[in-house]
């Protein structure tokens, strides 16, 4: 009996080891959004190309992507090329020009091309707060029911799209 007890520390260690192994390589910074499964929050924003406030009626019929971007964000220019490719495949993307200047944003889209179905300006970042955005770029999937299905922080690329695609229902 006493002999068996001496194996307890070893046993606990083995369990911990397996646990650590399972956790290795996971992205610890990944944070799911609290909005997942909930309807997209209401908003009143001005599109880049006009001066009238619009709300949900300006959005495409789902499923679609919402992409927070800005001209001050270096990672956004990295993902831009991939967004162009997605748009060419017919994926509707709503761009939220986050805490940015309209003129700079227009110039950016002229220079690099415009992958967005519509671009809404969130100059003060209020919609960003409603969506729980912590920085740009961030991308949300909204499903055909108008509910937030998934949130991705950081650059969208081929690997990320594999994940996002699964939520486009």
């Amino acid at each position: 009996m006493r002999k068996a007890l001496l194996f307890i520390p070893f046993g606990v260690f083995v369990v911990l080891g397996v646990l650590f192994y399972m956790q290795l390589g996971k992205d610890v910074h990944y944070m799911p959004s609290a909005l997942v499964g909930k309807p997209l929050p209401e908003f009143q924003l001005v599109p880049l190309e006009s001066s009238e406030l619009v709300g949900h009626e300006s959005l495409p019929k789902g499923p679609y992507l919402i992409n927070f971007w800005a001209t001050w964000c270096p990672s956004c220019s990295i993902e831009h090329e991939y967004l162009m490719a997605l748009a060419a495949e017919g994926v509707p993307i709503v761009g939220i020009d986050y805490k940015d200047e309209a003129d700079a944003a227009k110039q950016w889209l002229l220079d690099k091309g415009d992958p967005y179905a519509v671009v809404l300006q969130d100059e003060m970042g209020y919609f960003g707060v409603d969506m729980g955005v912590t920085g740009a770029p961030e991308t949300f999937v909204v499903d055909s029911q108008g509910r937030v299905a998934y949130r991705h922080q950081g650059v969208v690329n081929e690997a990320v799209w594999q994940t996002l695609q699964g939520y486009m229902r």
């Binding site: 646990l19 650590f20 192994y21 390589g25 944070m31």
Partner: protein, 649 residues
């Protein structure tokens, strides 16, 4: 310059010599081959010298701004002051591991130097264990984290600069002292494993391991104290402990190490808890190792974490499994042979120290659970959670306070059995006095009830330390002074460390109960009153440092109309990294710190200013320093040297 290549080559050689050190003496032990056994000491020295050479090579690369070396390019800059260039050697992942290896070599060499005081067969085995640990660690550096990788042919013109948070005196000294502690526990570990291998599980290994453990413990205490002090003045919001996973990673070995220091004492003096002490030595070093794993592998999210790299994680995990797993297996197979012959009563000092060990182990597991809980939760697919200060304060606080109550009693108890009447006679006056004095503070200061209780505990501990000392020195035959001088150094070490705990506790109580914090908007010329101090914002000066530009606020402080200090909090912009840093300004005092940091620049020259008056905050670190000094005092008690000589003869 060839230095990085020389350093790299020296490190690879060191790995092979360490491997030889890990193998040859053990073969020598099995075959009783004197030549192989005697190879342990020279192999230790050669390994250490090679690691040192490698470390010097990296340091030279930093000093000479050799940006063709990737690690230098990532962590230094031509404008960086020279002392930060040197400390930048351990400012990143690769270099800090090299420092770890160097310190391990240093400890092993120190053991080698003292090896003549150990039995002929024990010393080589101890060094071989250290050799195995060193092999694993150096291999980890060589295969996954070499600091000598070159950026050729596209050498950057200048480096990316050291993280501004690390450009600070605290960060020059904090990692080396912390590692001295972490790695030092490998010596106690090696003694324990050697005892398991040789089957020599009598109390002598405890006597050899004690001074080493005390010194490591003292370094770890100093390292944690420095880390807390650094966080306090550098992070800009005046906290001194955050229950961050990496802080916890250093606290766990400290708690286990504290238990080890005490259980080694019992094992040496009374020959009990033998098997438990061995396990505790393994446990303490495992936690040091685990801390390294958690920080380096990126499985936990922390402000201290270096960039996550799964291959590194797998390597450390494999190391962890090999070294810790095999030790625990060896323990399971061998520790059953130990028999304790001595019994002890439930009032004896053994029992009090057992209680100390149980409580410290519970505290360690509490921190371990809190640190790993988010990980377990995530691994089981239950989602993301974080465990923060509320859990730790609620669970850790009461157990720690209970432990401190017992600290008052333990030293007064006698080995084997203590008469109840003796305990009561000694304890009654301090208990009453502590509760009474604390009550006065509680009513005068208008504090919460918990302040009364915890302050009473701190006072109780201090008074009991004094009573216990007095009971030893009071006597009729000779003067108090003669008797006081006769008490061993180790005894005063214990007393100092215990009083250090009381001092730190008083600091903790007041800093949380009696501190004031105010966030105000101040335009030039405006003042604000905080806790009897009048802070006047005189204006902003522009200052240029070697690698930053700064806005420096000039804030004068008056008490009763009299100028007592002028403070200069800064908002720095580091020009290379474009990082903004808040440098708080402190006006330290024995019973209070004034702490001012700049917030945002507002309109019309006004600034957001954060002002804190922190009560007794210095006492926390003063307590830490006292504990460290106590540990050192005990480690250098002459009796260890004497007994070692007897063992040799």
């Amino acid at each position: 310059m060839m230095f990085p290549e020389i350093g790299h080559f020296a490190l690879i050689l060191a790995m092979f010599f360490a491997a030889a050190l890990g193998v040859l003496p053990l073969i020598g032990y099995r075959t009783r081959n004197g030549l192989l056994l005697s190879s342990a000491v020279p192999l230790t020295y050669v390994t250490t010298a090679l690691i040192f050479l490698s470390f010097v090579a990296l340091t030279l690369a930093f000093v000479q701004d050799d940006f063709s070396v990737q690690y230098v390019a990532q962590n230094s800059n031509t404008l960086l002051p020279i002392w930060y260039k040197v400390s930048a050697v351990w400012g990143g992942h690769e270099g800090s591991l090299l420092l770890w290896a160097l310190i391990l070599g240093g400890w092993a060499s120190a053991v080698a130097r003292k090896s003549h005081t150990l039995p002929e067969l024990t010393a080589p085995v101890v060094l071989a264990i250290l050799g195995i640990v060193a092999t694993g660690f150096i291999a980890f550096i060589v295969y996954t984290s070499s600091p000598f990788v070159r950026l050729l042919p596209e050498t950057p013109v200048d480096g990316a600069d050291l993280n501004p948070l690390l450009q600070d005196f605290g960060l020059i000294v904090h990692p080396p002292t912390l590692y001295m502690g972490y790695v030092g526990f490998s010596v106690a570990f090696a003694f324990a494993i050697a005892a398991l291998i040789t089957g020599n599980l009598n109390s002598s290994w405890a006597r050899w391991a004690r001074p080493w453990t005390n010194v490591s413990w003292a370094f770890l205490t100093l390292g944690i104290t420095l880390g807390s002090w650094w966080a306090y003045y550098e992070l800009g919001w005046g906290g001194w402990w955050f229950w961050d996973p990496v802080e916890n990673a250093s606290l766990m070995p400290w708690l286990a190490g504290t238990a080890l220091v005490h259980s080694l004492a019992v094992t040496e003096k009374r020959g009990v808890f033998k098997s438990w002490t061995v396990l505790l030595a393994i446990f303490t070093f495992s936690l040091s190792f685990l801390g390294t794993f958690l920080v380096r592998s990126g499985v936990l999210n922390s402000v201290h974490a270096f960039a996550a790299d799964p291959t590194r994680g797998v390597f450390i995990l494999a190391l962890l499994v090999v070294i810790i797993g095999s030790s625990l297996l060896l323990y399971a197979l061998r520790a059953g042979e130990v028999r304790s012959s001595v019994s002890f009563g439930i009032t004896g000092r053994e029992a009090w120290l057992l209680l100390n060990n149980i409580l410290l182990t519970i505290l360690t597991l509490t921190v371990l659970l809190g640190t790993l809980y988010p990980l377990i939760f995530d691994a089981l697919g239950l989602g993301k959670i974080s465990v923060g200060a509320p859990y730790f304060n609620a669970v850790f606080g009461p157990i720690a306070l209970f432990l401190i109550v017992l600290m008052g009693i333990g030293p007064i108890a006698k080995w084997h059995k203590t008469k109840g009447a003796l305990l009561v006679r000694h304890a009654i006056a301090p208990a009453l006095l502590a509760v009474l004095l604390s009550a006065i503070v509680y009513f005068v200061g208008d504090f919460d009830g918990w302040v009364w209780a915890s302050l009473a505990i701190a006072l109780w501990l201090s008074l009991m330390c004094f009573v216990e000392w007095f009971s030893k020195v009071a006597g009729k035959n000779s003067s108090l002074w003669t008797r006081a001088k006769k008490l061993p150094r180790a005894y005063y070490g214990m007393q100092l460390a215990h009083i250090g705990v009381a001092v730190a506790l008083i600091g903790v109580i007041f800093v949380s109960a009696n501190s004031v914090e105010k966030m105000v908007r101040l335009a030039p010329g405006e003042s604000v009153e905080v806790n009897g101090y009048e802070f006047t914002f005189e204006g902003i000066k522009h200052v240029e440092g070697p690698n930053y530009v700064a806005d420096t606020g000039v804030i004068t402080v008056r008490e009763n109309g009299k100028l007592i200090d002028t403070m200069h909090p800064q908002k720095r912009l580091y020009t290379t990294t474009r990082q903004v840093m808040t440098e708080a300004s402190l006006s330290p005092g024995f019973t209070r710190d004034l702490y001012v940091s700049l917030g945002e620049s507002l309109d019309q020259g006004a600034w957001g200013v954060r002002i804190y008056v922190k009560s007794f905050v210095r006492w926390i670190w003063l307590g830490g320093l006292m504990m460290m000094a106590g540990g050192l005092l005990a480690a250098f008690d002459p009796r260890y040297r004497k007994k070692a000589e007897v063992a040799h003869a």
